[in-house]
Symmetry: C2
Subunit: 256 residues, 2 copies
DNA sequence: CGTCGCTTTGATCATGATCAAGGGATGTGG
DNA sequence: CCACATCCCTTGATCATGATCAAAGCGACG
């Protein structure tokens, strides 16, 4: 957690993370294996598409620095953001598994990505099964985030959705050392929030106002400060368990 | 497609499938490996919980026969269905990765499940990497279904959602030989649909009426007949690509 | 100084929720 | 064989959450 204070402070620049793929809990050896997969890092401008819906996609990326969104544009031009990609996340694995990418991914900040050819990723299963198992595990856990998002869209009010969204972000960013106890730094426009939560921009504006009036959250410039974590959590019915999987080691130990 | 006609006919009884885990495209050897993992099949009554939210879960299940839902009950009693499990699907893998199951799974029909201890599943990565790779691939592809569901909840109208939901079901059931060109058999109550799509029961009723009046879909008893697949597809903005991943073989061939 | 990206606000509208009843089926126990 | 219960579908009336439309404010930046 060394980088916490600097990362969460007002300092300018793209979010980055000490330990890429920290959630995988890789050993030094395993991390080296993953590094070997990667082609040289590529720097990406803010707002650039890394993966484009409808185009063939044969390379996945590890988002080393920066924030990105995975989204879909519907025929009437509406956008739905599927999820946010944070440093350490893989991008585009699923896209490679289909004839054409199903979603687009674009950066919200200046970013750095490490390309990995899918072929190599799959061969990992033969060459380094342990690492592959951890990847499998990691991807499975990510699905929990999708599911929670789905519950929010299906059954929660606008207020609850926004609260939940912000709590999830806080927690996820904390887990990679990019947020402190109650705040983080992110270029989070109201449009981004509305497209993530299936709401309109003006309504998100009103909801944010209410949250601010109630002393729960302030978003100013690119700083999100949660003034009352307890209450926001309660409002959102937020349980952070879905962001905190057991490690593979724990799983195996348990079933020996 | 041998079983199609009988499976999709009006014949009574739980849906079953010729080739369990057909989507994995396993070789005979690989299928044998998977069979070896399984404990003896267990028969499950209709409406029974296989996995309960909040409880520790150390066994996954392959749904051999029958239909199930994965869902979450919110504190106010509302239910959100995350997805439908069809024959051949794995159930509960994610639940095992957390301290407590995040969602419940219960059957909609009389079912048969084959329990598999997680430990064994994970050890598969060491012992049979090819099979593990296919599992990984299969799980990744499943996420596409979540994502599409998410887009529907976030940005589609009630009418589009229902249309999309039915088209997805038709396609998924066709892929496992449980639906014919335009119809399938499933105990699909309006409550199930409403909880899957984040709508109220009365409104689903009205939407279904409209679809019927427009000559697009009839649901009667447990039979769903799509009278106009073309038009329903168009209405739903349904692209079936997300249900048709490339095979691993294709992927590897492409990147040799 | 003007434009662009983002936020804010107000007025109006509509999609879909909620509330309340009733209406078949099917099934079950007396 | 009937009474009753249960499950699911249906319908109507009313309500409200959140969308839409329109316009203005407000930095930041070239």
């Amino acid at each position: 957690m060394r980088s916490r204070s600097s990362a969460a402070s007002g300092r300018r620049g793209p979010a980055s993370v000490d330990r890429p793929l920290a959630s995988l809990l890789l050993t030094a050896d395993e991390a080296a294996v993953l590094r070997d997969l990667q082609s040289p890092n590529r720097s990406v401008r803010r707002g650039q598409e890394i993966i484009s819906e409808g185009r063939r996609c044969t390379t996945v990326f590890i988002l080393t620095e920066g924030i990105a969104i995975r989204y879909r544009i519907l025929r009437d031009g509406q956008r739905q953001i599927i999820n946010l990609l944070l440093p350490g996340d893989f991008a585009g694995v699923r896209s490679c598994f289909f004839e054409n990418a199903l979603y687009s991914i674009k950066t919200l900040t200046k970013s750095v990505v490490a390309p990995v050819p899918v072929g190599r990723l799959i061969r990992l299963f033969d060459t380094h099964p342990r690492v592959a198992a951890k990847l499998f595990w990691s991807f499975s856990c990510e699905t929990a985030i999708y599911a929670e998002h789905l519950v929010a869209l299906g059954r929660r009010s606008a207020l609850e959705r926004v609260a939940h969204f912000l709590m999830e972000l806080l927690t996820r960013l904390q887990l990679i050392g990019l947020a402190d106890e109650r705040s983080f730094r992110l270029p989070l426009t109201q449009e981004t929030i509305s497209d993530a939560l299936g709401l309109s921009i003006p309504y998100v504006n009103r909801v944010l106002h209410q949250l601010r009036d109630d002393g729960l959250v302030r978003i100013k410039d690119q700083q999100v400060v949660i003034d009352n974590v307890e209450e926001l959590s309660a409002l959102a019915d937020f349980e952070n368990m879905y962001l905190k999987p057991l490690s593979i080691a724990e799983l195996l130990a348990e079933h020996e």
